[in-house]
């Protein structure tokens, strides 16, 4: 049940009605949120619910044990149980076959047949998101940076909260659990603001991301040799804005839905393609993941402390694992490594701290943007052969286009919405929010119909697969 599916169109208003009824009784409200979240998650596959429950029970128990235990060695052991269980889930469901397939050719040269070790495993939707979320809870508890949640129901809601369950933002316990301890902050302004965010996310997803994909990107990436360099370049730009609008659209919807229910989720994107260097990009792109990797991987590895080479190695290792987090495939690892190298290069560039002239800023933004764009090529291709074909096609410098005017129009719209100053968007939002409810609703109803007409086959959100 994706946010852009007809099912969700019935599901969420139903949840809202029941939530309103249960709102003033804390236990009923939490029980309803939990039931709705499991229903939402199990709509993909009912078996997924078991894994989510397992992760919840393990980390809740680990949390309770951690606060009772004073001996450092035993605390470390308890933490290891939590990490092993969460990473074990990821290892089995996400990475097992990848490593079997990776080692099979080498094993076959030694005469070992590993094909029997390959099993068809269903990758549970959003597993990387909720395992990272629960891991952060136990690690923070271990470090003494978090308060243990004694109430199982509240903890279960924290793990399974449906707006952000399958594709983030990855919420820290210290951000979310305190909100569950008080009455959610629902006001008319926040409710309408949340609804506006939901529709903004849907516009990003359906009008920009999906149209870019269906009008050109999917076809061009499926057969790059059939297109000119011009088309390949613009399809790559198309993918660059597709993935941004797809993922940031999802985040906007998640944040908006949570706000309508009275909760605040952290910002996940901040117009990343306006970054002047790759370091800045990672403070604007998938912020909840990059800060997670910084706090729970990069800093424990040593962070900025240590020798020149050690710091670079820490950066590279963090980005490699960040790449692997996105998927069990070599191209994701290469993508992570590519960004690791860019970050190392970015660190080595001296920073003056003085504001640069406008044209320098723009030149840096364009340069950084194209480095990111090239990275998306590694990210999007399914195998290295397609990458080679695509890259060779780009370097042929051939002209002519098979892409339609509508594609270029949508791409232009995506670029424009990215670069238009925030205050313009805020003015537009404020104007709409100041209209009577009936006028706002007319705008949303029109948009819903437009979404229906623009949807070919309800493609899923890209980040669901991670």
């Amino acid at each position: 049940m994706a946010f852009n599916s007809p099912q969700f169109l019935f599901f969420f208003p139903m949840v809202l009605c029941l939530y309103t009824l249960a709102f003033h009784r804390a236990r009923s409200r939490e029980a309803l949120l939990l039931a709705a979240s499991y229903l939402f998650y199990m709509s993909w596959n009912w078996k997924y619910g078991g894994l989510l429950a397992l992760s919840t029970v393990v980390d809740y128990s680990v949390g309770r044990l951690l606060v009772r235990e004073q001996r450092p060695n035993i605390k470390r052991l308890i933490l290891t149980v939590s990490l092993t269980s969460n990473l074990g889930l990821l290892a089995v469901f996400k990475y097992y076959n990848f490593f079997v397939d990776l080692t099979a050719p080498a094993a076959s040269t030694l005469g070992w047949d590993l094909s029997w070790m390959h099993h068809e495993l269903l990758l549970p939707v959003g597993i990387s998101f909720y395992t990272f979320q629960t891991m952060s809870y136990t690690i923070d508890l271990y470090r003494g940076e978090n308060v243990c949640e004694r109430d199982f129901l509240r903890f279960a809601v924290f793990v399974a909260f449906f707006p952000q369950l399958v594709a983030g933002p990855i919420v820290r316990a210290k951000q979310f659990l305190p909100q569950l301890h008080r009455t959610p902050n629902v006001t008319v302004e926040r409710f309408h603001d949340g609804l506006l965010l939901v529709f903004r996310g849907l516009v990003k997803k359906i009008v920009l991301a999906d149209l870019l994909a269906t009008l050109a990107v999917d076809k061009v990436f499926a057969e790059p040799s059939a297109y000119s360099s011009w088309d390949l370049l613009f399809a790559l730009y198309g993918y660059t804005f597709q993935i941004y609008n797809d993922f940031s659209g999802y985040s906007d919807i998640a944040i908006g839905l949570a706000r309508m229910l009275g909760f605040d989720l952290p910002l996940n994107f901040n117009r990343p393609y306006l970054s002047q260097n790759v370091r800045e990009f990672w403070t604007r792109w998938h912020i909840s993941l990059s800060t997670w990797l910084r706090d729970y991987l990069y800093i424990p590895l040593g962070g900025n402390r240590g020798s020149w080479i050690r710091v670079r190695m820490n950066l590279l290792a963090t980005m490699l694992l960040g790449g692997l987090w996105h998927g069990a495939a070599l191209h994701f690892i290469f993508w992570g490594a590519y960004h690791g190298v860019l970050l190392i290069a970015s660190r080595s560039t001296p920073r003056t701290g003085e504001p640069a002239p406008c044209y320098i800023t723009i030149a840096r933004q364009i340069g950084c943007f194209h480095l990111i764009v090239f990275g998306w090529l590694l990210f999007r291709v399914q195998d290295m052969q397609t990458f080679t074909d695509y890259a060779q096609g780009l370097l042929r410098f051939t002209g002519g286009t098979q892409l339609s005017d509508v594609f270029y129009l949508v791409l232009g719209g995506a670029i424009l919405t990215h670069i238009v100053p925030m205050r313009q968007l805020e003015t537009l939002s404020a104007w709409l929010l100041a209209r009577p409810v009936a006028v706002q609703a007319a705008v949303y109803a029109t948009l819903l119909l437009l979404f229906c007409g623009l949807t070919f086959e309800s493609p899923s959100f890209i980040y669901f697969q991670f």
Partner: protein, 353 residues
């Protein structure tokens, strides 16, 4: 939090409901069945035919809802097709299975034509239908006229990367044939609305023409089509009947490619967002050649409907559905071919029995 907060959600719902009712009233008076206002009982042949909306499901749930009720003991012809032969927009008397029965009887053949066609069926459905009901109905000949639904289904499988739609048997009112509906009731509900039909027809289909479309289903498409036809032949023979194949005809052909009318284009892209116009023409030609090849190889009678009917705009109300004149022309083509090959068919019948 109080219910007054949900006012905006109710307003959105209200606007959509008003739009739906308005469009349904319009559609109802134009002769279409709608979600809220129900089925329009058409009395005058052809009045709704020009509008071009295809129903996703048969309006009559009986498996042989449009079956002729001739006396038993006659030669039984089973028409395995889809909306082309069911054609709920026209009266029963003018659709080609009924015309065929009249023509055969007028020629002295005591014939019963069983119309086992339902909108949305494709060759696999016809095959399952023959397998499941063939032994009870005991047809002597099964005539297959089917292609566009199969092209759409193959396009989805080969060009979108999506998996095949899963069947859900429709057990409503004792229907024995497998009908095809989306699995989820919310999707089904949305797809039944007049708003959805309008948006798909006027917005999605136009937008689909702006996609990068494929010009062919490639050799994989040919192989899958051939496999479907061979499975149909095997199922028909398994049911003790003789398969008869028909080539497929469309209102516009290769020579019309630069000038395909809007009505044809809209219908094509409403249901298939993967193949270009050239791709459709190419695929139909290739698949018709496969039918000819298989018929020759298997010693089957082939009725070349394409040769007789294709490209005659007055025979079609859209790209693939017939006008009453078209139905008559198809029935005549089938009758002529059956008579011309009567010796051959009889010989096959003797061999079979």
């Amino acid at each position: 939090m109080t219910f007054s907060l949900l006012r905006i959600v109710l307003w959105i719902g209200l606007y959509i409901l008003v739009a739906e009712i308005g469009l349904e009233i319009r559609a109802h008076y134009r002769g279409f069945d709608t979600l809220l206002l129900g089925n329009f009982q058409q009395t005058e042949p052809g009045t709704a035919a020009a509008a071009g909306r295809l129903q996703s499901d048969t309006t009559e749930t009986g498996s042989d809802s449009r079956q002729s009720d001739a006396a038993s003991g006659s030669v039984r012809y089973w028409i395995a097709s889809s909306s082309h032969a069911e054609d709920s927009y026209l009266s029963r008397e003018v659709i080609f299975p009924s015309v065929l029965e009249r023509l055969l009887r007028a020629g002295g053949i005591q014939a019963t034509v069983i119309n086992a066609s339902h909108a949305g069926m494709e060759i696999d459905d016809n095959t399952s239908d023959v397998e499941s009901r063939g032994p009870q109905v005991k047809p002597d000949y099964v005539i297959l006229y089917q292609m566009s639904s199969t092209i759409t289904s193959l396009s989805k499988q080969l060009l979108s990367g999506a998996s095949e739609r899963m069947p859900r048997p429709n057990t409503d009112k004792g229907a024995s044939v497998t009908t095809w509906r989306p699995l989820n009731w919310t999707v089904w509900l949305v797809e039944q609305t007049a708003i959805y039909a309008q948006l798909k027809g006027h917005l999605t289909s136009r937008l689909a023409t702006k996609r990068v479309l494929a010009d062919s289903l490639g050799s994989a498409g040919d192989a899958r089509f051939e496999a479907k036809i061979r499975a149909f032949i095997a199922a028909t023979r398994g049911a003790g009947a003789i398969p008869i194949l028909c080539t497929f005809a469309t209102s516009h052909v290769r020579r019309d490619l630069p000038n395909f009318p809007d009505s044809a284009v809209t219908l094509i892209f409403k249901y298939n967002i993967y193949l270009s116009l050239a791709g459709w023409v190419e695929t139909i030609e290739r698949f018709n050649n496969i039918l000819r090849h298989i018929a020759a190889e298997e010693g089957l009678v082939l009725i070349d409907v394409e040769n007789t009917v294709a490209g005659h705009e007055d025979y079609f109300r859209d790209f693939v559905h017939f006008t009453p004149r078209g139905h008559s022309a198809v029935a005549t083509a089938i009758r002529d071919a059956l008579i011309a090959n009567s010796q051959d068919i009889k010989r096959q019948h003797v061999v079979m029995n």
